[in-house]
Amino acid sequence: MGLYFEKQWPELLPCIRTLTTLQTDHVVPQLYTHVHRRACSSLSTPRITTHYTIHPRDKDPRWQDIEMERFADEADVVIVGGGPAGLSAAIRLKQLANQHQKELRVCLVEKASQLGAHTLSGACLEPSALTELFPDWKERGAPLNTPVTDDVFSIFTEKHRIPVPILPGLPMRNHGNYIVRLGNLVRWLGEQAEELGVELYPGYAASEVLFHEDRSVKGIATNDVGIAKDGSPKDVFERGMELHAKVTLFGEGCHGHLAKQLYKQFNLRENCEPQTYAIGLKELWVIDEKKWRPGRAEHSVGWPLDRHTYGGSFLYHLNEGEPMVALGFVVGLDYSNPYLSPFKEFQRWKHHPFVESTLEGGQRIAYGARALNEGGFQSIPKLTFPGGLLIGCSPGFMNVPKIKGTHTAMKSGILAAEALFPKVTAENLDSETAGLHVPEYSDNLKTSSVWKELRSVRNIRPSFHNPLGLYGGMVYTGIFYWILRGKEPWTLKHCGIDANQLKPAKDCTPIEYPKPDGKISFDLLSSVALSGTNHEGDQPPHLTLKDDSVPVARNLAIYDGPEQRFCPAGVYEYVPVETGDGMRLQINAQNCVHCKTCDIKDPSQNINWVVPEGGGGPAYNGM
């Protein structure tokens, strides 16, 4: 074998000699695939992606003798995602079951190790949906401890601020709302759910949708464990488990990976606009008591973003004992400059005199990031399909100008539960498909407060796309929302998917970001450490690439590698290759905070985020 390679690929020879002296099991298959790739591609791209969703195991010789049978269990309803929507649906189902004295097995799977660990939001909560779920939430001890007392809205310039009065009727008015740490509310909802008899399984990610013979949804399968980084089975390999249900609710949050498959499978997006997104980065700070104004909600637009880049900030003063503030920055992912770094925009925004004065002398205690929906009304897909339905931020019910999506997510969960309960407990299940179809959910949603609310603000975000950018958008909001309550007969369109909005790097100017000072602003890696994120190291990277050669050939060549800038966790790095010239993409999968921005913004749409082993990811505490 050696002589053959000597002739064909002489540079491989030292490589082969070293490998043949190694004693490990995984080496031979690795050499096989390495050589196979070299024969196939003209560029020498080192192998990055080893995940079985890209390299199927039924064709992989290392998996020949592995038992792939899965243990299966039956429930009445399976819910994917333990966020506000999923938990509201679970709670409502059990409330109805108890009320009507029916048996109902509700199982909820959540990829985070504990409920709330992957939850990140501002958040200013409208308590409407919570009150519907638990009219006595206060007596039950729901962690809504900070009523909003003060709304401050500013347009920032580099050194100054222009105050904007928040008149009654404007979407950013927060009278009656509560500043909450959403992770804590989610944890509390989980406790209520457990008390009602919901089976909660945190630490187990739904990694696959299962289908009946008639192509209706049968349920989900949880992730396999014990696959090595190179894609081969380890000694501790075990298959995930199948959970079958009459109906499966998908509440994965913004840009869920199973939802992505379902859109294709059932053509759910054929009559709606593509979803558009923003990335939200957030920190928690314990500040100097003298600067603390509990109940104050501050928002800003303008600096450091230019008028054509959608985004803004929030800063909320919590009232839970410690002088703590939750602050963050949102950047619309339809930005066009590949040199833009949302993380660095956030860090430099903190140096604005109005913000820095609050943070001076304080200590940062948490960091995180998550993508959020901006598409609103126009981007709501078809919500039901045989065997399942979509709830919460997954299909996307966020009221963008209010930057609130929790109350609508919870409401969608409640409506889903109420629609499917009679069907799933019916004596004679009269269904055309093996998996139940519940179009009533969608019908009820369309006549609910959620629909009315989203419809009235539908044109605010798209109105931003005008020559005056931000200012045009504000004028539009003032006239058509504040005065006319969104009753205008037209519906503005979005501009297409966010991934297509980037301009080539050569047409854009690099942005000079100031260096972090270590007191107010910080570097990326110390921020990522604060998110508490971690994954089992020896597993295939869950940021999978459809084609390993595209990052260098396209993303780097045309767009100067925007993923190294838009990832808020430093997962993507272009590093020089070990020998010779050129760069390669290094994926630091362990850093991932599950924000989904890369899957959304990759200009080549080559990155497919799949779920890693359950329990991995951030360890947010009350974010």
Binding site: F71, D73, V109, S113, Q114, G116, A117, G183, N184, R187, Y201, Y204, T222, V225, G226, D235, V236, E238, G240, M241, V286, E322, I365, A529, L530, G532, T533, N534, A619, N621, G622
Partner: protein, 254 residues
């Protein structure tokens, strides 16, 4: 050798989480923080379950001392293969001051009550790094101990333990009953998979109070203050060796 193995499992703050000192400096923030089973305890559970699978022992009992949430840790041990659990309820101030001495007294009392033939613990917990509980338990019971075990084999009525020590590896043979503490290389713990978590819900966890075991939880130690480690200061560069010596003398280092 047949019989019962007691495995101690401790619920600790997850190793990847950034620790924050409480504003009153009495301890670290634990509320809402991600916790998991101490990694060395996972290894201990794995070893016990392996022994049961080899039919060398009959029953694995997982024990944890702590508040309500410790039950989750016991459930994980049950999902890995332990047969039943014992939750020794310790909460509030008692839990804050709970340390190796009290835990070893509890384990010793339980070992007698359960007629255990073997106790397997992790070598130390990653929150306090004490590395004392195994040794103290053995002393209280007057049992032999095989600590820092990287290999365990049961032979007739004795246990052969390969221990990781500073100089290398030491092999000892000890009588049973005995206490073993697990070191990193003893095994690779299995995952607690979902079907096993579901089955574990049916396994029994008994609730016990330390007073029922006749254990006094009073601590001999008082925590005066908890602080973050000092911030790393910038270094000072010097040009010559003379400067270096002068600086070292100035700061009283030599």
């Amino acid at each position: 050798m047949s019989g019962r193995v007691l495995v101690g499992v401790k619920r600790v703050i997850d190793y990847a989480v950034k620790i924050r000192v409480k504003p009153d400096h009495t301890g670290v923030v634990t509320d809402g923080v991600k916790h998991s089973m101490n990694p060395f305890c996972e290894i201990a559970v794995e070893e016990a379950v392996k022994l049961k699978e080899k039919k060398l022992i009959k029953e694995v009992v997982a024990v944890s001392c702590g508040p309500q949430q410790s039950q989750e840790t016991i459930r994980t041990a049950l999902a890995m293969g332990a047969d039943r659990g014992i939750h020794v309820e310790v909460s509030g101030k008692d839990y804050d001051s709970l340390g190796p001495l009290q835990v070893s007294k509890i384990l010793a009392a339980l070992a007698k009550k359960e007629e255990a033939q073997l106790i397997i613990l992790g070598k130390q917990a990653i929150d306090d790094d004490c590395n004392q509980t195994g040794q103290m338990t053995a002393a209280l019971l007057d049992w032999p101990q095989g600590t820092f075990a990287s290999e365990v084999s049961l032979e007739a009525e004795k246990i052969k333990v390969v221990r990781e020590i500073d100089g290398g590896l030491e092999t000892i043979k000890i009588n049973t009953p005995a206490v073993l503490t697990a070191d990193l290389r003893l095994n690779t713990p299995r995952y607690a998979t979902l079907p096993n978590i579901m089955k574990a819900k049916k396994k029994k966890i008994a609730n016990v109070k330390p007073a029922d075991l006749g254990v006094d939880l009073t601590s001999r130690l008082e925590v005066l203050r908890v602080d973050e480690p000092p911030q790393r200061e910038a270094g000072v560069k010097v040009e010559t060796v003379e400067d270096l010596v002068a600086k070292l003398k100035d700061t009283g280092k030599i």
